[in-house]
């Protein structure tokens, strides 16, 4: 299993395959999320970013893995860049977020990252 380079086109088949592997959990998470926003209070980024809703854990997983699921993996590199922005810049994967309905939000964010990684869309830590 080798990883593609950034210049290669997006392999939507590979994304779909990864989505299918986690379909049950993903579908369940997206279906049961009641948008209660209780998870927000457990996110330190939400609390330290003036409670900006884009840092709500539910918002993050719905707009990352949820977007991939809704599009059935048919996304372009631009979309993956936007998803990676959510998955890396708005979440540090501290795994402290709490969902009263039992959604494993860190797992969903991890999956979004995994899919981005599979297309070599990753956070650039060498950026000045």
């Amino acid at each position: 299993m080798s990883e593609p380079t950034a210049t290669e086109p997006v392999n939507t088949g590979q994304i779909k395959q990864l989505l299918d592997q986690h379909k049950t959990k993903m579908k369940m998470a997206l279906r049961v999320c009641a948008h209660c926003s209780l998870c927000a209070q457990s996110c330190f980024l939400f609390n330290t970013r003036e409670q900006d809703p884009i840092y709500m854990p539910s918002h993050k997983f719905i707009n990352s893995i949820g977007r991939l699921y809704k599009k059935k993996g048919n996304v372009d590199r631009q979309a993956l860049e936007e998803i990676s922005e959510i998955a890396w810049k708005r979440c540090v994967l501290c795994t402290r977020c709490y969902c009263p309905l039992g959604i494993d939000i860190p797992e969903m964010i991890t999956l979004a990252r995994t899919i981005c990684r599979s297309q070599n869309v990753v956070n650039d830590f060498s950026a000045e």
Partner: protein
């Protein structure tokens, strides 16, 4: 964060030579931040290794996969379906991550691809400075935020020693004396009396393996202590 540096290519080539199907596992945590073992570094190392093997008329044999954190078992589960196709793994995580990887997949040899160097700070992109030895008994509150354990060559708690000269350490004039800096910092803050306070003898807890349990979780894990 933990800082690491990749091992030399020759060393990695030598240790992977006996294996035919190698999985190089990167880590999305600290080693990504210090540019030693993230996804990009995994791909670079794989290209170098595969090229080295190719130059000896050997086929490509190194695959890549990067998990979010090798020091957390939940992130290693996704490797289960891949590991079985390989006969060895290179770990580009810190020593902690490499050990959890080895513990999770005890039948597959795990070879470290980086040297874990320190707990440090980012001075610039690509330059990291050690700041903490994880001694387990932090004295920064008394030393003006300058760590004598990390910065003093002798690890003195009652410095400076007689070797200080013009604020520099006797081992090199390029190295500032930690205790000279401690004195300066405390003097600026009008806290020089801190130096006179007697501290308990350091137990050097970092010489034995430690498990950290946060107070709020002490009851939950009481039986596993």
């Amino acid at each position: 964060m933990v800082k690491a540096k990749r091992k030399p290519l020759e060393e990695l080539k030598a240790v992977t030579q006996p294996y035919q199907r190698i999985l190089n596992v990167g880590c999305g945590g600290c080693v990504s931040v210090c540019l030693a073992g993230g996804q990009k570094e995994v791909l670079v190392l794989n290209n170098e290794l595969n090229l080295a093997f190719k130059n000896e008329n050997q086929p490509n044999r190194v695959d890549a996969y990067t998990v979010e954190r090798q020091c957390n078992a939940r992130h290693l589960r996704e490797l289960e379906r891949i590991v079985k196709d390989h006969d060895c793994m290179l770990s580009m995580a810190c020593g902690a991550g490499a050990q959890l990887l080895a513990e999770t997949f005890p039948d597959t040899p795990v070879l470290p691809a980086v040297n874990t160097e320190s707990i440090g700070i980012d001075r610039e992109v690509g330059i990291y400075e050690e700041k903490c030895r994880a001694c387990g008994e932090c004295v920064l509150g008394y030393t003006g935020g300058v760590c004598p354990v990390t910065r003093c060559a002798k690890g003195l708690f009652n410095g400076p020693c007689g070797g200080v000269q013009d604020g520099k350490c006797e081992i090199s004039m390029d190295i500032p004396c930690a205790w000279y800096d401690i004195h300066g910092r405390l003097k600026n803050q009008n806290r020089l009396d801190n130096i006179k306070q007697l501290q308990m003898v350091m137990e050097w807890k970092n010489q034995t393996q430690r498990t950290t349990i946060q107070e709020a979780y002490a009851q939950r894990y009481a039986s596993s202590k």
